[in-house]
């Protein structure tokens, strides 16, 4: 949505979190997703980021590659770190897709909490915040002496969301893991492994971050509501692993009911066939098909002109199709191979068969449905360029919403946060900058220490 086309929001339909301020000391992916969602719905997100050290896996700054290296990564299909036009520029930490995909609607202040000057600024910020979100290993927060017990002395109304991988207690307390590792530890990786394959074939999915991000924003919003009614802030402990457990609840129940561990499922469904990903014309082109009834199977065979499949005695009933699904999948794939995935998608939908083309990233950015719904938004980052970013994934009929500010650069709001918000004098602020504690680039020592 372009700025001149933005409709008005009246006072009754303002963004719900306007007036809520969030201190964001999150790293990597799941924590930043929480603050992304809170920011999208109106909160003032203040990202606290050091320039005196590089936070790993966050702004993609710890490893600076050349254009040739980025082009090589692209040629192998590893795209998540590639900057615009493969150009790392002078400030590669402002050009990472992994960071910029969440960093809209945020402000950034340079501040190293582990240093006395940074701690002073951070505590001043905490005084003026409603919420703090962190997703570090517990020992990191303990070592930095910024636990809830300490921060609530600074601000008794504070809500603190802590989202370590496994919890603030227990044998795995200080285990380090990304979403993909957590998915392994709780059983999701095994369930999504091909039914006829091995777990090393299914790679990394980072699903736990997607769930924990939304659940974290949910928990903060619920706690804000509780505070509005009781006046009480609180600590919310939400390990990634535990926020994900309900998502495999039915499989956990199968174990607690029947002492049966769920096996590898891949694309198969326990009660429906055909149910899977089938080849279509072109290299690496696929369509998902999910048939739930005899009528749908008949309609599928009709569209495909697959008379032999429709009349095959083995596939006549749902039970037979499930039992014979290996043969069915092979036979069906031979037929779908001759169809264009987009044409087949529309033809199957027209007769009530649930189907959908498998869209790679570039195809997804061209979806007519997402286009019609205005999902992607064009944002301009000065010096980085104008690009289309994934937008806000929930629509409210009477509360038009859009991304208010583009992905935030390192230390972009130092001046306004230190001076206007935290009450530093211009002289004090200038001194912090002069000493290299505050800035918009990492210190020369840090940059020299990179690989």
């Amino acid at each position: 949505m372009t700025s001149d086309a933005r409709p008005e929001r009246d006072a009754a339909h303002r963004l719900p979190l306007e007036g809520i301020r969030v201190a964001d000391i999150t790293v990597v992916w799941a924590g930043p997703h929480v603050t992304q969602l809170l920011g999208e719905w109106g909160a003032d997100i203040v990202r606290v980021e050091p320039v005196t050290t590089i936070q790993p896996y966050s702004r993609g700054a710890e490893r600076i590659s050349t254009e040739a290296q980025y082009r090589y990564m692209g040629s192998t299909g590893v795209t998540m770190g590639i900057p615009p036009d493969f150009d790392p520029g002078k400030d590669p930490w402002n050009r990472s897709p992994a960071f910029n995909s969440h960093a809209r609607n945020k402000r950034s202040m340079a501040c190293d909490i582990r240093l006395p000057e940074g701690r002073e600024a951070f505590f001043r910020l905490i005084e003026q915040c409603d919420v703090i979100v962190e997703n570090n290993v517990p020992e990191t927060i303990e070592r930095a002496k910024i636990t809830y017990e300490i921060l609530r002395e600074v601000n008794p109304r504070l809500i603190m969301l802590r989202m370590p991988a496994y919890g603030l207690s227990g044998p795995y307390k200080n285990y380090r893991g990304f979403g993909t590792h957590v998915e392994g530890m709780i059983g999701h990786h095994l369930i999504r492994t091909y039914d006829d394959g091995t777990p090393d074939e299914t790679g990394d999915a980072y699903t736990a971050d997607a769930i924990a991000g939304v659940m974290g924003a949910w928990a903060v919003t619920a706690a804000l509501r509780h505070r509005a009614r009781t006046g009480h802030g609180q600590q919310i402990e939400m390990p990634l692993a535990e926020s994900f457990l309900p998502v495999i609840g039915e499989y956990i129940m199968d174990y607690t009911m029947n002492r049966r561990a769920t096996g590898q499922q891949g694309n198969r469904h326990p009660a429906r066939a055909p149910h899977g990903i089938y080849p279509t014309t072109g290299a690496d082109q696929w369509i998902a098909i999910d048939v739930a009834s005899d009528e749908e199977f008949g309609a599928l065979c009709g569209v495909l002109g697959a008379h032999a499949l429709a009349t095959d005695e083995r596939f006549r009933t749902a039970g037979g199709r499930v039992e014979q699904r290996t043969a069915l999948d092979a036979a069906l794939g031979e037929v779908t191979r001759g169809f264009d995935k987009e044409e087949l998608f529309h033809a199957l939908q027209a007769v009530g068969v649930v189907a959908g083309p498998v869209h790679n990233d570039v195809e997804a950015t061209r979806s007519p449905q997402l286009e019609a719904r205005g999902f992607f938004e064009e944002l301009t980052m000065e010096g980085v360029g104008t690009h289309r970013y994934p937008g806000i994934f929930t629509k409210w009929a009477n509360t038009p919403n859009w991304i208010r500010t583009p992905p935030v650069k390192l230390g972009e709001h130092n001046q306004e946060i230190y001076v206007d918000l935290l009450g530093y004098s211009q002289e004090e602020y200038d001194a912090l900058c002069a000493r290299g504690l505050v800035g918009t680039t990492y210190t020369p020592e840090v940059l020299r220490g990179r690989d």
Binding site: P84, V214, N360
Partner: protein, 401 residues
């Protein structure tokens, strides 16, 4: 102890996973959720898993899990009087969740504009495959097709075969969670003096906004014009899933700043002297990669998966083991933290469920009530609405309840 969501009245006209998960989250943390089921019940009552695989509408693991702390009434919305009752119930509700196909709320004369007239606090949340607008609005979707179109499915799996979906009903759980968040946000605005709203949650769009894999790679696609692709197993040295003696581990060591500790752990400190040490993992020579992998796999062949994780974690190395649900439920870590909750259901009996996701210092989650038997609260709800008990047999005979 006050629950976070006490006093919020929710009506759930939703079935299967997404809508009921949105409602469950609200119910588990204190909201009053009334599930309005068709006369045959939520289809998830038929889905299972069932104890000993014997189907029973009150014993489906999926249903029991997704409907804790709710009440249930039956109501036939195809009958005019059913819709009259539904509209009266909405008049007393703060939040309504539905998963009707687009247009059905209009057919039922339950659309937001009409329902919120004189009730501006009302929040309605409608979950559909593709949303309430757009060229694909009326298309059907399911877990696998919506992951395929909207989500990161294309990048999952092995490069030499078909892409693989994420496990179970992940897309629908995610969309339910997104809906529940929107409801809470809108309710927070209402309680601060603002208006309610009609929330339009598309599962497809939630998948397109699925962080990390999808939003990062959609941004990368805008930056580079390229899509991420399925990666070959074992393609990068000491990165990713490998077999251990009793299962698989997923350890990220190659090319990281903790790689020296890893080499010590697998007994190859000499590989720190190699010219490729310190390079990025994709820059390792084939010979260096073979040296690392040979020793790593030999080490794993003698090391149980959880021990391999414990020993690499000591060096700050990211990783996890590939566990089964059996491993999970018996794991002392979660058991010691009290993750599982035993809930006694009047028909299904006592079973262990996934319990709290959150540990809250000021508003701990109360013990759960079991999922409701079908229609357990129909009579109570109707008498509270002012129906005479004597009228109920007629409603029943007419197929309204």
């Amino acid at each position: 102890m006050t629950q976070m969501l006490e006093g919020i009245r929710v009506l759930e006209f939703a079935t299967n996973v997404a809508g009921p998960f949105a409602g469950k989250l609200l119910a588990d943390y204190g909201a009053e959720v009334l599930k309005v089921e068709p006369l045959t019940g939520d289809p998830s009552r038929q889905t299972g898993p069932f104890p000993d695989d014997i189907p029973h509408p009150e014993k489906s693991g999926l249903f029991l899990h997704l409907n804790t702390n709710k009440q249930s009434m039956t109501l036939n919305l195809e009958a005019e009087e059913g819709r009259v009752i539904a509209r009266r119930l909405i008049g007393h509700a703060d939040v309504v969740i539905d998963d009707f196909r687009p247009g059905l709320l209009d057919d039922y004369e339950m659309h937001y504009e009409a329902m919120s007239a004189g009730h501006p606090d009302l929040i309605m949340a409608s979950i559909t495959p593709f949303g309430q607008s757009g060229p694909w609005r009326d298309y059907a979707g399911s877990e696998i097709t919506l992951q395929a179109m909207g989500g990161p499915l294309h990048g999952n799996g092995a490069p030499n075969r078909e892409p693989a979906k994420l496990g179970g009903n992940t897309a629908h759980y995610h969309a339910g969670l997104a809906t529940s968040l929107a409801i809470l946000l809108a309710r927070f605005r209402v309680e601060a003096g603002g208006a309610g709203d009609w929330i339009d949650q598309s599962v497809y769009e939630a998948q397109a906004g699925f962080r990390d894999r999808r939003t990062i790679s959609l941004t990368a696609a805008a930056y580079s014009g390229l899509s991420n692709t399925r990666q070959p197993p074992g393609g990068r040295a000491a990165m990713g899933v490998r077999p251990a003696i009793d299962g698989y581990v997923n350890i990220f060591a190659g090319g990281t700043k903790h790689f020296d500790g890893f080499l010590d752990e697998i007994g190859r400190p000499d590989l720190k002297e190699h010219p490729d040490f310190g390079k990025q993992v994709h820059e390792y020579s084939a010979e260096y990669q073979q040296e690392i992998e040979g020793s790593y796999l030999a080490w794993l062949f003698a090391t149980p998966k959880l021990e391999a994780i414990a020993r690499t974690q000591r060096h700050g190395i990211l990783g996890g083991a590939i566990m089964s649900t059996e491993d999970l439920v018996n794991d002392p870590h979660y058991r010691g933290r009290g993750v599982w909750e035993t809930i006694d259901h009047p028909i299904a009996g006592p079973l262990e469920y996934p319990g709290r996701q959150l540990i809250l210092s000021d508003s701990p989650k109360a013990p759960a009530r079991p999922a409701p038997p079908l229609g357990a609260h129909t009579v109570d709800v109707l008498t509270q609405l002012g129906y005479d008990r004597a009228a109920l047999p007629r409603l029943r005979a007419q197929g309204v309840i």
